[in-house]
Symmetry: D2
């Protein structure tokens, strides 16, 4: 029987995800492939191009996130308090953070990261995330 659980996210250390992005893992599931994290993104940080292999949802806790070039280029610019849904199958070029940003992200599967030339790079799934969580360097709070 799986029981209900909770964690104080404030008491967890930030771990280095790379390229100015830190994270805290709140949940991973082998069975569904779902994972829930907090992301903390430095000003100017970005996620590389990627294709979603499962839907995902986010709540911007603070800051600003530009998806598909941001609202000026026909994409999305999400700021503090904004909620978004990123469906399975969607291709995102760069997701950019023009300000220090924190994001709560629940994701229902893997993400295929791509090179700048949009060639397959690596697949981020629950298992790689767990491994990252074990090996990542702790960052300053």
């Amino acid at each position: 029987m799986i029981e209900d659980t909770y964690v104080s996210t404030k008491d967890m250390p930030w771990l280095e995800f790379g390229a100015g992005i830190d994270f805290k893992i709140l949940r991973t599931s082998q069975e569904t492939g779902a994972w829930t994290v907090l992301f903390r993104c430095a000003k100017g940080a970005a996620f590389n191009p990627h294709r979603h292999l499962g839907g995902g949802e986010y709540l911007v806790l603070k800051g600003r996130m530009e998806v598909r070039g941001g609202a000026e280029k026909g994409g999305i610019t999400a700021t503090t308090g904004d909620y978004g849904y990123e469906p399975n199958g969607v291709l995102h070029d760069e997701t950019f953070f023009p300000e220090p940003t924190e994001l709560y992200f629940t994701n229902f599967g893997a993400i295929q990261f791509l090179t700048p030339e949009l060639e397959p790079d690596f697949v981020l799934d629950f298992a790689m995330l767990e491994e990252l969580g074990r090996s990542a360097k702790r960052q300053a709070a």
Copy 2:
């Protein structure tokens, strides 16, 4: 093709859920039964006893939530910034809010609400939630 979407939660009105609880619907899905909401709970408000017919996750945005009697009685007391996972199949008696509380909640199915005597009362699913969203009274921001 389902596209990515987002909403500014601050621009959405609070709707009356009942018994001191208001909500904003961020997403519902017939296909998976999932729904994502914000809950705003007045001091002293509570969710009636219920059984989860799908897992759920929450992030406490502010306030205090006592699950299964709270930490003093062996349950959970979650406060601002805390994350929790409520698995499918779990029975919760009363979930109580001793302070004004806001909660981001992603839920993967229906919830069977029960009477105080733990008899089946009604099933809250995506369809009832959508119907509630259409008919609920707007509350003050």
Copy 3:
């Protein structure tokens, strides 16, 4: 780590589901609420009215199944080799078996069974199914 598993369905006993219907449980999941079964329905057997609280898929291994009154009344009549998808949220009055029928059924959640007057009767979920599996009478092969 969850490993891959398999069972020989032929070596499993049929268990009594009730009202001329037997079943074999192939999988249940607390985490997702999914369950996979074989149903064997006697000629003239029927499932009571019910509302799906999760999607389901079936493959008719042999026989004939009439959903929503069957094809003559605007519903579905599925026979050997037919595949069907029953989405979350759908209300089915009676699902009737005019011939001895075997069905492979994968279901992604609970089912709310209703009385003949369409009042809530009971919720069949993974936990009740597991309990049924433990207590049900073995039937002749």
Copy 4:
């Protein structure tokens, strides 16, 4: 509102998947990434090494399938009527069919196919499967 649907699988043509394997697509879902198919595998056919990025379930309708080298090498040998569950995250080297085999397969996500050297090759997801379904050559019944 998604309605219930069904198809007569016998009236659908077999499409060429490649390397002695044909398929019929029964369902694909962008939202969940799930897809349900029939596979028909010639004697001696095999699926290349792959890693599951979502769980899957199968029912062997006829024939014989050897997973992870088959039962003789510590893997699984599934024959007519056998049911199996392949969890998310599992790595399968070659899945081999020593006899003509038919398989009903429900899969909850993408599959990362690998080269014989276990390097990433391509990701098979609902979208590629749909594209395959549109372009694949019809095979003899």
